[in-house]
Every structure is written in structure tokens, then in C-alpha cells.
């Protein structure tokens, strides 16, 4: 079997290459089912990362994981970006953080039985991307506490259940009062006042034996 090509940092200068207009708009503005997921990316000093790139991947609301092409749909006349077709849900988002380390996407809610978005984080200084998940399964006002919410998610999700109980809250996207906006901050390292490091997930552990 061939040996894997190593990862290298995305560096500081991907900004004119990877982000694209509408990268965070998985559904058209004003879509009745749209939810907004947003947050900040912070380093170990508590400083925002102005040069991080986030990608999201998710099941369609019906649970389908086949995806659809067209996230980077192009205008054949100008070569520019035309935006996604309103009828195709591609499941893929890509956004860069701003000077405040903030990012935002507008998407459809994932299915209730797998209520998460897979998140992949790239940044200058990060030699190998990080995977985490934003769980949206906690509608505002419907659960008593994070603990109860986390327990409910864990009951139906093998990956979430594998996360130590005292760190699960870092994977919960918090719904604000309108119920359609979720906040998900990512801390690459524990913060200066003991704010918890976000849980990152290792999918490579099941590496086949060499040979």
C-alpha cells in the first residue's frame, strides 16, 4: 500500500485562493429553514485567530450523505463565482475568520438523529488540520442544562459518547433565543483563565498495518 503524503500548514497566504464568495452560504438568504452557525477561533493566549479557515460538512436534512456538486459553481462568462443553485444542498461550507477571529455560515439543520456538522480547521501555525464537531441538537429553552443536553446527544451518537463527559460541552453549539442561530467557539488550546480546550477528533487512529 502507498504511504500517505504528509500534511503541511495552510500558511498565512491562502486567503486569495481557498475562500470563495458565498462559501458560507449553503442556502439562499431568507430560506425558511436556514440556521446560522457562527463563532470565534481562539489561541492559547485567548487571542482570536485572524487567519484561520474553517470547512464544514454535513448530512442533508433527510440524512443523505452523498453531497451535491456546485459549492464553487462558476460563471462561465466571467470565470467568477455564481453561488450555489438554490435547489442543490451541497453540504459543504468554507469560510475564513475575520480580524476578530469570527466566522459564520448559513445552512440547513442536520438531521435530528445525527445533529452535528463536521468541522475542519486550518490555520497558519497549525501543521495539520483539526477535526471537531458542532452539535446543534439543543434547541434553546428545551433542556435544563448542558449536562442534560449532552446526555441526550450521547445517547444517540457513538462519537459524542466516546468524548470524556467533562469535555463534551465544548462540542455543543449554543442556540440563542431565536432558536435559529447557534454559537460555536473553538479554542485550539486551553485559555489563559482556564477556558476549556475544544475537543478534537482523531479519525486516523484506525491506520492499517504497514505493508
Amino acid at each position: 500500500m502507498p504511504l500517505p503524503t504528509p500534511s503541511q500548514t495552510v500558511g498565512p497566504f491562502y486567503g486569495y485562493a481557498l475562500p470563495f464568495p458565498g462559501g458560507g452560504d449553503l442556502v439562499p438568504a431568507g430560506h425558511p429553514d436556514a440556521v446560522t452557525l457562527h463563532g470565534r477561533v481562539l489561541d492559547g493566549a485567548g487571542d482570536p485567530l485572524p487567519d484561520a479557515l474553517l470547512e464544514t460538512w454535513q448530512a442533508a436534512p433527510d440524512g443523505g450523505l452523498a453531497g451535491r456538486p456546485g459549492s464553487l459553481r462558476r460563471d462561465p462568462v466571467t470565470g467568477g463565482f455564481a453561488g450555489r443553485r438554490g435547489t442543490d444542498f451541497t453540504g459543504f461550507g468554507r469560510v475564513a475568520t475575520d480580524a476578530d477571529g469570527h466566522w459564520e455560515i448559513r445552512t440547513l439543520p442536520p438531521p435530528a438523529r445525527a445533529p452535528y456538522l463536521a468541522v475542519c480547521l486550518f490555520a497558519r501555525g497549525l501543521t495539520h488540520h483539526l477535526f471537531t464537531r458542532a452539535y446543534l441538537g439543543v434547541p434553546a429553552g428545551e433542556v435544563a442544562s448542558d449536562e442534560v443536553a449532552a446526555g441526550e446527544v450521547a445517547a444517540g451518537d457513538a462519537v459524542f459518547a466516546a468524548v470524556p463527559a467533562d469535555r463534551r460541552d465544548t462540542l455543543l453549539a449554543r442556540a440563542v433565543a431565536d432558536g435559529r442561530t447557534y454559537r460555536f467557539d473553538i479554542r485550539i488550546q486551553e485559555g489563559p483563565r482556564g477556558e476549556k480546550e475544544t475537543v478534537f477528533l482523531d479519525f486516523l487512529a484506525a491506520r492499517p498495518a504497514a505493508g
Partner: protein, 289 residues
């Protein structure tokens, strides 16, 4: 590229000695404080040697760089201190599937970085081609390959790149293509120049092209850099050297391929890429053992 690429010719950046001390990257306040006295190359090289020696003693050797790699100073506050949570085999995991792309996502011009402006860019014209495979050795077909790079002088068409080397009005340095049924990709571009950065005193990046790749699963996502054979800057560069396994580092270096060179037109470099990570379409690794 017209909607995302800044027009290099429109930059108002001034050149000269002052620019050489400008911030080459957007450092955070804490990073700036830490960087007031830059470490010497000698110190960074010693740290690289020590990190490689320590990694060599580890019986489980990853092909990927450790995220905590002190010689690359920006990693200090940007690596998790806790180990990642090992994910149990879950055939339902969304990450075993991934985004798909198609012919609406690229245009024919995207793969030729020398034809995106009204004139020809300066520099040595090259063809970069290879195949994208999964870790079972099967071609990754119909997937998106994205590249970005500095121009022949070592300058990016990026506002925060203040290296006092000339911008090229005929070169942006962004390319995209889809792999074919054999997993093959191909770009025409110019050879990028080496460029300085402020990781340490007299720090220079060897010439490289940034690559972004997708497999059939999100777990196979890869962002990496391709290097050119024989570059004397390799041992000094903490980014290349963040890959502690020498054999794995070799896999980041393209091969000059005379058969890929086009007579009286361009020089050919071949670079094959192998994506790591499980996928819904891959055989269960447990069954391979």
C-alpha cells in the same frame, strides 16, 4: 479567478528597506511580543535536530507533522495540549463521506496559471502533474485539487505579503482542477521563488506550491506543500522539517520528469499524492491486518 484574486498591479505597496522589516504575516499581539528578538537559524536548526531525534525514538511514527513543533514558532499557541479523542469506528459518521465537486465548480482556464491575465507571467514555465490516490492505492477520481503559490520572485498576490520583491501583473498564483478517472491532475504555472519570513533571523521558505485535496471522505482532507528537488533551503526550513520522518519528508518533494517536459515550452515535475484516512468506500482497516 476574477472575483477573488486581487489585481497585483493595483497594489499600492511601497518597496524599499522599510518594507523588509514589515510584518510578513498577521501576527497576534502575543506573537509580536514574543518575536521582538528573533531566534537565530543556529538555534532553530538545533531545535529541529532535537525534535527529529526525539521523534526517531518513538516506535509509532506518523507521516504527519506533530502539531506541537517548537521550531515553527507560530505553532506554540496554536496546537491542542490534550491528545485528540480517538473516534470509534462508526459507519454512520458523516466524516466517512465528503463534499463532491463537478464540472460547474471549475473552468478550463483554472488549471493554467499562465493564462489568467492579459499577458504572460515572468518566470520559468513548468508543468506539475501527478495522481491522487487513497491509502489503498486506488485513484481518487473527479475530486477537487486546488493550488496557490508565490510568483517567480517569491511574492504572493496577498495584501499581507510585504516581501519587497516585485508583484507580477500577469500572475495571481491560484489554480484548480478536477482529477480524471485515473486520479490524474495537471497544472501549467511558473516556478515559484523562495521567500523570507519572520519565524527566525534569516528565515527563508524553500520554493513550494500549496496544495489542497479532497478524497471521497472528509477524513481524507489534505492541505500540504509540494517542494522542488535539490533545494538547498530544505534543512533550514522548520515547516518542511516539521515532518519528522525523513522518508515522509521525501514524499513532499516532486521529481523532475523529462518526459513531462514539453519541448520548447515547459519543464515537467511529477508529484503523486496519497490521502490518509478511512472512508466509507475503503475496506475496513481491521480486515486488512
Amino acid at each position: 479567478m476574477t472575483t477573488t484574486a486581487p489585481d497585483p498591479a493595483a497594489s499600492t505597496t511601497t518597496h524599499g528597506p522599510a518594507a523588509s522589516t514589515a510584518t510578513h504575516e498577521q501576527a497576534t499581539a502575543h506573537e509580536q511580543a514574543a518575536a521582538t528578538a528573533l531566534p537565530t537559524q543556529r538555534r532553530i536548526s538545533a531545535e529541529i535536530a532535537a525534535a527529529h531525534e526525539a521523534a526517531g525514538r518513538d516506535p509509532v511514527r506518523s507521516p504527519h507533522p506533530p502539531r506541537d513543533f517548537a521550531p515553527y514558532r507560530s505553532s506554540a499557541l496554536r496546537h491542542p495540549r490534550l491528545p485528540p479523542v480517538r473516534v470509534p469506528a462508526d459507519p454512520e459518521a458523516a466524516e466517512l463521506y465528503g463534499p463532491v465537486f463537478g464540472r460547474t465548480d471549475v473552468t478550463d482556464l483554472d488549471a493554467d496559471l499562465t493564462r489568467q491575465h492579459t499577458g504572460e507571467p515572468l518566470g520559468e514555465r513548468i508543468t506539475v502533474a501527478g495522481r491522487v490516490l487513497d491509502r489503498a492505492g486506488r485513484p481518487v477520481a473527479g475530486q477537487l485539487v486546488e493550488i496557490w503559490q508565490a510568483n517567480a520572485s517569491g511574492r504572493y498576490a496577498h495584501q499581507r505579503d510585504q516581501h519587497p520583491a516585485p508583484l507580477d501583473p500577469h500572475f495571481t498564483g491560484v489554480g484548480r482542477c478536477l482529477t480524471d478517472r485515473q486520479g490524474a491532475y495537471r497544472f501549467t504555472t511558473v516556478k515559484p521563488g523562495a521567500y523570507p519570513w519572520r519565524n527566525h533571523e534569516n528565515a527563508w521558505r524553500p520554493a513550494h506550491i500549496h496544495f489542497s485535496l479532497f478524497g471521497t471522505a472528509f477524513t481524507q482532507r489534505l492541505v500540504t506543500q509540494m517542494y522542488f528537488p535539490g533545494d538547498p533551503l530544505f534543512p533550514y526550513d522548520p515547516i518542511l522539517q516539521s515532518v519528522t520522518d525523513p522518508a515522509a519528508r521525501e514524499r513532499l518533494v516532486a521529481t523532475y520528469d523529462h518526459g513531462l517536459s514539453t519541448p520548447e515550452w515547459s519543464l515537467g515535475y511529477r508529484w503523486d499524492i496519497v490521502l490518509d484516512g478511512p472512508a466509507a468506500t475503503l475496506p475496513d482497516p481491521e480486515e486488512d491486518r
